[in-house]
């Protein structure tokens, strides 16, 4: 008599790479959460010499404004993870709600929702972001909203498909014949059955959001330069002299992005396997 969660966790642990990735990711998240305690300096504090290479006092050196790069990196992880997590949360919520509505109600509601979904999906998001950035006040939370409103169509389609196949199951029909209300069927029967695929999909949305934030910030359309983020740190390394001569200004941030995204994808793959009911 093992709980469903227990079975999934045991299967997940069979994937060594995923387990390692989960630990690495956990450490990174802890570092980000406790950045104010770990970081020796504030993110924007002038801490020492200008553009000094790494040494004992400044583990990752200092930038052109004499700010400690290690402290900046910690705060940047905090900002980037927050942006990506919040954006993923928003897009997952929108996707699940619209997908469930489309799949459950069908007919015109389904048509309307799915046309809207296709429209958002086919819209070039960079353009959307440029327009949004021009209209709204740029800031961390507008980037969260923009990313959140761009990434949901995939989840909506996934959930709609799951709901359509659940509709055909006998237990769905036996809920109808038991006279169960719509909200019970939707949230107590259907939702738990779509959580597994959604969770897997959400990990890839999370990874993409980290990359999107970095890309947008690099283009100057993302998180304001006054706030450290992984993209903003990379933006500071635009000139060829920094790229070739001062690798400590951009290599750590780039590495963190690569490691985070890789780890998230490993975790997502293992989750997919662990939650597959066919195993």
């Amino acid at each position: 008599m093992e709980s469903h969660f227990g079975i999934v966790f045991r299967r997940f642990c069979r994937h060594r790479m995923a387990l390692v990735s989960l630990i690495v990711l956990g450490v990174m998240i802890l570092m980000a959460v406790f950045a104010p305690l770990i970081a020796p300096y504030g993110p924007n504090k002038v801490a020492g010499g200008f553009s000094k290479p790494p040494d004992a006092e400044h583990l990752l050196g200092t930038d052109q404004s004499a700010r400690d790069m290690f402290s900046r990196l910690l705060y940047a992880m905090r900002v980037s993870l927050t942006v990506a997590a919040a954006a993923t949360l928003i897009s997952t919520a929108i996707g699940v709600l619209l997908g469930m509505a489309a799949g459950y109600f069908g007919g015109r509601i389904d048509q309307a929702i799915m046309s809207f979904t296709d429209m958002v999906m086919s819209f070039p998001y960079i353009l959307l972001v440029l327009v949004a950035a021009a209209i709204f006040e740029p800031g961390m939370w507008s980037i969260v909203l923009i990313l959140g409103f761009v990434d949901w169509p995939g989840i909506a389609r996934l959930v709609r498909g799951s709901v359509l196949s659940l509709r055909e199951t006998v237990f769905f029909k036996s809920d109808i014949t038991a006279g169960m209300p719509r909200r019970y069927i939707l949230f107590s029967e259907i939702l738990p059955n779509v959580i597994a695929p959604v969770l897997v999909y959400a990990t890839s949305v999370f990874a993409l959001s980290i990359l999107d934030e970095a890309a947008l910030s690099y283009l100057g359309m993302g998180v304001p330069v006054t706030t450290p983020s992984l993209g903003n740190i990379l933006k500071g390394a635009e000139s060829i002299t920094i790229l070739t001569g001062k690798p400590w200004l951009w290599v750590p941030a780039g590495t963190v992005i690569i490691v985070m995204v890789t780890c998230i994808n490993f975790v997502g793959d293992a989750l997919r396997d662990a939650m597959d009911p066919k195993n």
Binding site: M1, H4, T169, V170, F171, K173, S174, I176, T177, A178, G179, M180, P181, Y184, S188, E189, P192, N193, P277
Partner: protein, 329 residues
Amino acid sequence: MTSASPVLEVRHLSKTFWEKDGLLRRAGNRAVQDVGFTIAAGETFGIVGESGCGKSTVARLVMGLEKPDAGEVLFHGQRIDGLPERRLRPLRPRFQMVFQDSGSSLNGRKRVRDILAGPMIWHGVVPRGGAQARIDELLDMVGLPRGAQARYPHEFSGGQRQRICIARALSLNPELIILDEPVSALDVSVQAQILNLLRDLQARLGVSYLFIGHGLGAVRYISHRIAVMYRGRIVETAASEELFAHPAHPYTRALLDAVPSTDWNRRGRARIVLRGEAYGSGWDDGCAFRGRCPCADAACARAACELSPIDGDGHLSRCARAGDGPERS
């Protein structure tokens, strides 16, 4: 409730399923045509027929899972066909359903306890948090150990899962349970256990059953009255023993003859052996069974017979040649 006011009355029920077949042409499948019957309190009404004869569609129409094209479904005299779900929902606890596939009719992510408690709590059969005693009682009733409630559906055998489904149907104190081939997927020994359980429960609770099946033995064992369906129509209906003792319609006879038997009394007459598949589109006016019927003649192609009484006791048959054809000893 007396037998004068039936629990369920079905009148002239018809349903055609339309399939898109090319751009303009549409193919129709007349799944149910002009089906009618009544079920009294504490009675079991059996519907038997081959696959695709429309018997499960009748169950779905009665349950409101499909909308009939014509006809009426009356529950205690109140029409329930065509009611919007919102109005039907308060009535639903009074007529429950057990499906054939017990495996997929239970949500695999929930424990048996939660599967049973959900509908009871929602319909106010038990107070929130007070479902435990009732769950124990239900498991006792269907012959499962009380420890079963902490487990998941996939940990049970098909017969045990069907017991869980029956417990779920009983949980709302229904007056009528529609059993759509509840034992067809089970081993013969398990079938007998489930059928006995259903009979015991009926004796204790006075619940009515609409029992749908294709196994003659099971339907005969549990039903008081039986209807035989062929191509969407009831071709014969009678009290259970009467139907088996004096089958009137050639199709009913063919069904009975298909059952291996040691009954020496039957040796006197020629057996009717069904040949071929179901015949024709079902759209002409002739008898749907004529293509496979040993006693069909030209008249059968022109017009189908009405369901008419054989005797005074409610034995009806849809064959004017009933009694003709191959002689019985």
